[in-house]
Symmetry: C2
Subunit: 802 residues, 2 copies
């Protein structure tokens, strides 16, 4: 491999190197100051104990390397007029991002209280990791960031997500060698198989081998260069090494390699954007920066190796307030940057240094790509009603809900094709989840070989499929945070794979909302299908409805949980979710053929309310019921209606009310969630005193948790998933978990006071049905015909008595 | 790279190839039969509709490749007398494992109802993916497996976990090219940096490139061989390709390569186990098997490509019952294996074929390594009381709880060093989590370069650190499932990274328990520390106590949640957990210096009960309280005691009871969880009518969820984590979430009937304290001295009045 083959740009001069080195010293100085100093920010006087913070919190180790990269990116942005988004994988190196954005001026523009000059510098230092100040990590509060880097693994996948459909953007992504050990990061290198050099931007990975994690060497740093080159060549990258520790040679090398790499990127893009491109996947360049951990910091403390070792990870000199010798080390260290040669008398960066930063929106702290809400354009959405199913009476149509949604998503794709701001992500399941209609207008994106017999693969597809939920999630996060839209369709059970990523995204959204300069981004939308009740080819390992529980722990203003009972409700909800922002919307819906209940108009009314009485299914409009049969989820709704049918047929004088919940957050009190029903509205649905047999899609506890403050809570009898599962028939799954019509009807019989005695025959019959079912499926391997064929009685209008 | 360099074993003869090919046909025949047939298992008569199952569920695509590998492993096991554990990454290829273990005889030994011969074969076919039968995936029910392969990503990491400390074992691990796209799998290749060829067994990865996932090509299969070789050379493996589709040449090639590879493994081990080994990491061999998806199945169905394409993924001929043409394809397909040349008249495998399988415990279906409970030896545990802190009075000692535990773990390491059956896993946090004492007796294992200045790294370390929670979790699962013990110490917030793995392990345990032939394995033990309340260097991204909520959804007989309030309780609980089996034990404990409350004896009594009244902290023994101050977790306990101190000082006539909960599952009803308290015992602690101010470590909802059936539930006022966090002081974190002593005391004042008026002055004082706190930390950056110094009053015995 010849690093230099395509070199085109002349080397930078020594005087410029000297200026850049001084700028770098300024970034390092401002970084150390944040970790340590309460006062005396320019060291105008000898450092005293009271100038040092009582609690020293932060991470020095990665910071000088991040500063080094940032300073060099500044140069190429200026010289090439680039738009660069900086993804700081080692997000705990917060001091670096804060230092650089302050030095380039964006920090003070966004936070005028932290001005330029000595007083601003004092405040900048003081606020870092300080109560009421800013966190130690790169965070939503940090200008120029879309990435926290607290939970490691997602830098590169975020970078690719940001680059898709942003052809003029270069995403410079620093990957720490600690983070590189994680699974999501190890998989993310393959994202180059999905990035189109013609229509997407470029990702420039900068693998920062500083050698150590918290207390260990790193795997990649201790591999020899042959193995390392081989690994990344295998991933499809051309490596450019920048190695050393002497600042001046390192600056020269970094500048040279960065120019080479950017020339390479330009050449790749020009080639791909010129006529005649054959669609081949390019060999993208990447940089390996091998620099000492804690570079330029204390070499030793208390006789122990610190620089270029893991002891520099956090605070290299731990007792600078209490211990004079430590304080001396700190002072010498800070003075080694020669602040007097960096700042003027007022504490402002000297003009010849300030001139090294880009200006305006080219500054990495100011790029709108890092504040995606600024760039976001609303989607053009089709009229969902035009796609709705005709359902003149409940049960009069049968359909696969997700297939109907597929038609809607196809139209969303079509209407926004030119804007190129909508993508569909999924782990190889778009077809399996019956969303095939989208392939009428687009394909799966694929930058590898395409065979003549392949179907629905192309270089410009807008459906992204890879067998990694981590990549789907991370790409989508990066895409949304840079101002675009999308939907992640996933098998319900396996969305837990990204629990922790969802967690971090929810945290990002929560904090972003507190930063008024951050504009809202499109919501993170999930379609969970192939759900617990219909696993078919798979079994117990594919059965877990617990993601709802997980999400429900997040801040109420962030999360929404939707359980549309049929296709038209699914359409309305999907349409609604695509209009929202700063939310995490979780839609759970089945993909199997099922009876349909609501017309488009009824679906709209029902979904807007979030929960409501289905008068047509109950025994009498407005009357006080003996029992409330409640449901949330498509299979629970089906079983509840079938149970209601049984009850009404067998016990004509029993007053039954059916309540369907489509927006689960309506169950919570309106003091806890903005979608929560007021107590009186809740009571109007569920009564204050009557038994409620609640068939819920997931774990029953969630319903109890959401309703524990409601008057009628003690009367809630929730049937849901009890962790009983295997490969079996659909109805048998319901029976195993007692969510089936027979168990629900039995529950009603047991819970309505005085009914058990009166309905003895019915109860016996239902127990008989259960036994009959079990015997039948074990004999025949499919559900009884009466189960397969059941539908809501088509004379129900009469039966409902209205 | 020269595949053949070390070839030592002579090639197998053509007659043996022919036999192996017939055996392979038998495995394929038995696999197809499982997916399709209800009856007519030997095709003695023409295939009729009623012979075909009504619901066709399963995965054919991967199955012939798995069968191919299994048959070849059988040969080398016999010839070399190997112990081989087969990890079936594509676990959805359940038919393959069932077919092979049936043909080798283990299936019928374990399940006598499924005998050998025609009737057994009929039952074997019928039960597959059939109600009351066996699931479609490799599962706990499947002999020879420790791995489900439903949620993809963990095959290789399980394989390494199984190989550690099993020097005589070869783990043959099939990795599908779909699974290879996942993050955890991509990271797991680096496990070779932690495997010691002298004292560990060998992992032989077999990367099965069958080209396709559900509806897409795979990334690795569409890379060219140069990139592919480069990638795996970079990971540290030597590749051996077996490619083609003609059975006979493929058998010859596979046999030859397998011999080469096993010779290589033997040579590596001999070298490493001989005197003079320098500890270098070997270049481990691996096989790349490139064979058609759905190999030997129908080439086309309905005019569409099926074999060697993704359409063969599940059921290649979908309507074999209803459509005669489809049924003909199925029959031709099954007859192409020539069952009459494979089975005798009774439906038994012909003797010359049966002789190809290993015998006894060498059979992969019978190896005890796949039923780890058979091999498990109890740990030798130290006397924890000997390590307990001296705590003569509550608050009379201060300690870091996890550091005390470190001493205990050191002794566990020492006492079991010879047995080599205990490991400690963690993502680079053993020291950060204050467990350093273990390094007195062992090191971190590290097979890369070791520098002179490195500390606590060695080739034979028993602490495993890698910055991947997925690897830690997966290694430990593999280690436990093969009969050993361990503990995973993790930052609390980031354990969510492995939510889905824990989920799958819990499912495995649940189903294993239903298989009486599977013997119990050691529990999966977590120490969650660096928890939400003490993040120090980090902030909001590191603050999430929700793992408890996630785990609590699992089956009650599997999960335990422990919140030891101090060091001695932590010791007792850790000691207890290491004695349990088939459990998931989650221990949450802090690492910061904190006052200690209980002596060893008191800790034991308290932990055995799981929850109890701390008489010494309350106002009177046995008296009926005005308010119950309850707590679970170390910081909540500290704040509750401080709040109690405030209340008792300010309101001497208020009757306060302090209840500490160490085993969270005691809160649940004993009908729901075996550790749950009976209602009367619960009421004896929490009363039936008095306000309970409950300070809980995590999200408050969990307490409501666990206690919603209790009489006093409406009086539970839970303070916990409300998603308010950042980098700040420890006490400020509590204040932000209203878990601090002032808020708790205020809650008591508000909730005790009639107290608000009487305690107006106290309330004003507490509000003042809160304001004073906020002002102080924003000024000084640390907590007020009175907060930092607070301890339980040492004259408390007098105050408690007993």
């Amino acid at each position: 491999m010849n690093d230099e083959a395509h070199k085109a740009t002349p080397e930078i001069g020594l005087d410029q190197v000297d200026l850049m080195n001084r700028y770098w010293r300024a970034t390092n100085y401002v970084s150390v100051g944040q970790i340590y100093l309460l006062d005396n920010p320019l060291l105008r006087e000898p450092l005293k104990a009271e100038h040092v913070k009582p609690r020293l919190l932060g991470h020095w180790g990665t910071t000088p390397g991040l500063n080094f990269i940032y300073v060099h990116l500044n140069r190429v942005i200026r010289e090439r007029s680039l738009d660069v988004l900086f993804i700081c994988g080692p997000g705990h190196g917060g001091p670096a991002m804060v230092a650089n954005t302050w030095l380039e001026g964006t920090y003070s523009e966004i936070y005028p209280a932290i001005g330029q000059g000595e007083d601003g510098l004092r405040k900048l230092f003081r606020q870092f990791s300080f109560p009421g100040g800013v966190p130690s990590h790169v965070a939503p509060e940090t200008p120029g960031s879309i990435h926290e880097g607290g939970e490691l693994g997602y830098a590169l996948v975020h970078a690719f997500g940001a680059a898709f459909d942003n052809p003029d953007l270069v995403v410079a992504c620093v990957v720490g060698d600690g983070e590189a050990e994680t699974g999501p990061l190890a998989a993310a290198w393959h994202s180059n198989k999905f990035l189109n050099p013609a229509s997407d931007g470029a990702v420039l990975p900068i693998l920062h081998l500083n050698g150590y994690k918290i207390a260990n060497p790193t795997i990649l740093a201790r591999m020899d260069d042959v193995e390392l080159r081989s690994l990344f060549a295998g991933y499809g990258y051309e490596l450019f090494f920048v190695e050393g520790h002497e600042p001046i040679p390192m600056h020269r090398m970094m500048a040279r390699k960065l120019d080479t790499v950017l020339d390479r990127i330009r050449a790749i893009q020009q080639h791909a954007r010129a006529p005649g491109w054959q669609g081949e996947r390019p060999l993208w360049p990447m940089i390996v920066l091998r620099s000492p951990k804690g570079w330029t910091g204390p070499k030793e403390v208390d006789g122990k190796k610190v620089e270029d070792f893991w002891r520099s990870h956090q605070v290299p000199v731990s007792n600078a307030r209490g211990n004079e010798a430590h304080r001396k080390i700190l002072e010498d260290w800070m003075r080694s940057y020669e602040p007097e040669k960096l700042f003027d008398n007022n504490g402002r960066l000297l003009p010849e240094l300030a001139a090294l930063a880009p200006t305006g929106l080219k500054r990495m702290g100011a790029t709108p790509y890092a504040n995606g809400g600024l760039l976001k354009r609303d989607l053009v959405l089709p009229d969902w009603k035009g796609l709705a199913l005709d359902v003149p009476r409940p049960g009069s149509a049968k359909a696969e809900a997700t297939r109907v949604l597929g038609g809607y998503l196809r139209d969303v794709m079509r209407l926004n094709a030119e804007a190129r701001n909508f993508r569909l992500m999924g782990p190889d399941e778009t077809s399996s989840n019956r969303l095939d209609d989208v392939f009428e207008v687009t394909n799966r994106v694929w930058m590898q070989r395409i065979e003549p017999y392949d179907v629905q693969l192309s270089r410009d597809g807008r459906v992204m499929e890879v067998l990694s939920e981590h990549l789907c999630q991370g790409w989508l996060e990066g895409y949304l945070l840079t101002g675009r839209h999308g939907l992640f369709s996933c098998y319900e059970a396996f969305i837990h794979i990204v629990d922790s990523m969802v967690n971090q995204h929810a945290k990002w959204l929560k904090t972003s909302r507190e930063c008024d300069w951050r504009k809202p981004v499109a919501s993170l939308n999930y379609l969970l299908t192939s759900h617990v009740w219909r696993q078919d080819h798979n079994g117990f390992s594919h059965q877990d409805p617990g993601f709802a529980d997980f999400v429900a722990n997040k801040k109420a203003d962030t999360v929404r949980l939707y359980f549309p009972p049929d296709a038209n409700t699914l359409l309305w909800i999907a349409d609604h979710c695509l209009r929202t922002y700063n939310r995490i919307n979780v839609i759970t819906a089945g993909k199997q053929p099922a009876p349909q209940w609501l017309s488009a108009e009824e679906a709209e009314t029902h979904c807007r309310a979030g929960a409501g009485i289905w008068e047509w299914a109950g025994t009498g409009k407005g009357e006080d019921p003996d029992v409330v049969m409640a449901c949330a989820g498509d299979v629970p709704t089906l079983e509840t209606l079938a149970a209601t049918d049984i009850l009404r047929s067998a016990l004509p004088d029993l007053k039954v009310r059916v309540v369907n919940v489509v927006d689960l957050m309506t169950l919570q009190s309106n003091s806890e969630h903005p979608h929560g029903l007021a107590d009186e509205d809740f009571d109007a649905l569920f009564t204050k005193t009557k038994p409620v047999i609640f068939a819920y899609h997931g774990y029953p506890y969630l319903i109890h948790r959401l309703t524990y403050r409601r008057a009628n809570h003690d009367n809630m009898h929730v049937h849901g998933f009890r962790e009983e599962g295997t490969t079996t028939t659909p109805f048998d799954m319901a029976v195993l978990n007692e969510l089936d019509r027979y168990h629900l009807a039995l529950a009603a019989v047991e819970r309505v006071p005085g009914l058990a005695e009166r309905a003895k025959n019915l109860a016996a019959e239902l127990h008989g049905k259960l036994a009959e079912h079990t015997a039948y499926v074990r004999e025949h391997g499919e559900d009884m015909p009466e189960i397969q064929k059941w539908n809501w009685p088509q004379n129900s209008a009469t039966k409902a008595g209205d």
